[in-house]
Subunit: 324 residues, 2 copies
């Protein structure tokens, strides 16, 4: 393990701006022992730190611009002085071990993919999201939307990145990997998954074989690996279906809306640390825009855990397959 | 509209065998006015008909073999004397307008794809499943698993097949089509959906543009078109997530299991007519294995409605794209 560098936190991201992010940084440092560097409008950030009696306790790097929540893609990347751009640059230069933002996922992924180089041997980054399972734990879905058209070798690498996440964030010593497909038998699936299954069988990981759509929330495996198109459709489908099912129950008038909202919160993927972009020289944790300070602090802890391990051990082996 | 031919019903399919299927055929004929031909073990089927006082009222075609529920794929197709094979042959010869079975989806799709030729101009068949929406209606998901690696032109055809289904089964005069993708903006998606979106924009149908995973149960569009891999993952994910969400509520102890089971039944896709294989010279309705007589009768009505219209009008236009 290398010396662990601080977590770089985008102070300007999210719906609540520096008030919640700075409070989150203070909580991350004081309650969880996570070293943090804040990036954003220096006078505002320092003012917020003062409110917590933490001026001088947490380093601040100035960024004169911020990416608005509605902005993404090329126009977000074009803001060279934004807290996103400056923060990613710090990680790229090795001054931070990971990056955390509550900005829009699209903008953070675009800026980080551009601003933070890929780890050696990694073909493409992947987005990991922990889905709470009924059994009480969580499974990580990877790729949940970073790479829409991966090759089989990329999918195999996503599995290795997911294993690193399951170890660092979910605390699984030897995570079990399932390939999301149609039909549980070997050989079932589409061209991409059939080839990916062959590659996964040869990698140094515990490959369970195929899992199906109904296995996503059961905790059957620790890592659910898929391409970024299917993964993003499934992630949004999970959110939509759980919301709809709870609305059905509310409509039937057989449970109180307040109690149902509690259930919804308990199974909210966001409580498990946000979406994480893996495969870069420093993981990137995307917290939800509405995150309160405690969620920001939790995201910083996740980022710190990921920065403390080598998530890309073994990815070179999976990159041997020619990219088609 | 051509003269409507009878619905061919596999008397041997399903968990309950001829007892429920024959009762379903009698109900389809007497309650819904649907002409039915039963295919199966003639003595047993006629015996069941007698119990309903319907011997001679419904035609029976003998089949000396039956595909067990656990069997699928090549070994199911190899049973040339099965009720599945004989029934599909009747439809292929034009003696039936559609085929209904409560056998396993895998076996029925394999036998029908082999035994019933494709309609003129259709590149590949697609499986359609009606998903109940919270708003009270239903949307049809197509392809829910017949063709795992379609070309963009095939996906565009699936939309036309889905429009035919939405008209005949859901009663929509001018169905709205959404393409399942990631990101609602035009140009978002993977290679397949980006090209399919261009083709869909040129077809004679109401194309809404992209829809996302969280739109699947909202009734935002009448037809949700996708490739058979994504569609099958999503279909099973919907089932799994609704089941899990209701289990969460049960576990929280805030609603009685009986009342929750009622909610689950109300939103069960099976009440909306089963999965339908479209694009063949006679639609194939796959009812759930556990279907009681009333569900079999409903499946026969759906098959009859589909047989009464031309589900492939316009598919030739969508086939102009070279298959890659």
């Amino acid at each position: 393990m290398t010396a662990v560098r601080p977590v770089v936190l985008d102070a300007m991201g999210g719906d609540h701006g520096p008030a919640e992010t700075v409070a989150g940084a203070v909580a991350a440092r004081r309650a969880h022992g996570v070293p943090v560097v804040l990036v954003g409008d220096e006078p505002r950030v320092t003012g917020e730190l003062r409110r917590h009696g933490a001026a001088g306790e947490i380093a601040v790097v100035h960024a004169g611009d911020a990416v608005p929540m509605a902005e993404r893609g090329a126009s977000a990347v074009a803001r060279a002085a934004s807290s996103l751009a400056v923060g990613c640059e710090l990680v790229s230069r090795g001054e931070g071990g990971a990056f955390v933002s509550a900005g829009s996922t699209g903008a953070v992924v675009a800026c980080a993919s551009r601003g933070i180089g890929r780890s050696g041997g990694v073909l493409r980054p992947a987005l990991a999201v922990a889905l709470p399972s009924l059994a009480g734990g969580a499974s990580v879905l990877v790729d949940a939307g970073a790479t829409a058209d991966p090759s089989p070798a990329m999918v195999a690498q996503f599995a290795l990145l997911g294993v690193g996440y399951a170890r660092a964030v979910l605390g699984r010593a030897d995570p079990v990997v399932g390939l999301l497909s149609i039909g549980s038998e070997p050989g079932k699936g589409n061209r991409l998954t059939r080839r990916a299954a062959e590659l996964l069988a040869d990698l140094p990981l515990r490959f369970h074989g195929n899992v199906e759509g109904h296995d996503v929330l059961t905790g059957a495996v620790d890592v659910i690996v898929t391409d970024g198109f299917t993964g993003n459709v499934v992630l949004k489908n999970v959110e939509g279906c759980v919301r709809t099912a709870l609305a059905m129950v509310a409509e039937a008038g057989i449970a109180s809306p307040d109690r149902l909202a509690e259930v919804a919160r308990r199974y909210d993927p966001e409580t498990h640390g946000g979406a994480v972009l893996l495969g870069l020289r420093g993981s990137v944790v995307v917290a939800h825009g509405s995150s309160p300070a405690a969620t920001i602090a939790r995201a910083c802890s996740v980022a710190y855990a990921l920065a403390g391990q080598d998530p890309v051990a073994g990815v070179e082996a999976a990159a041997a397959e020619p990219v088609t």
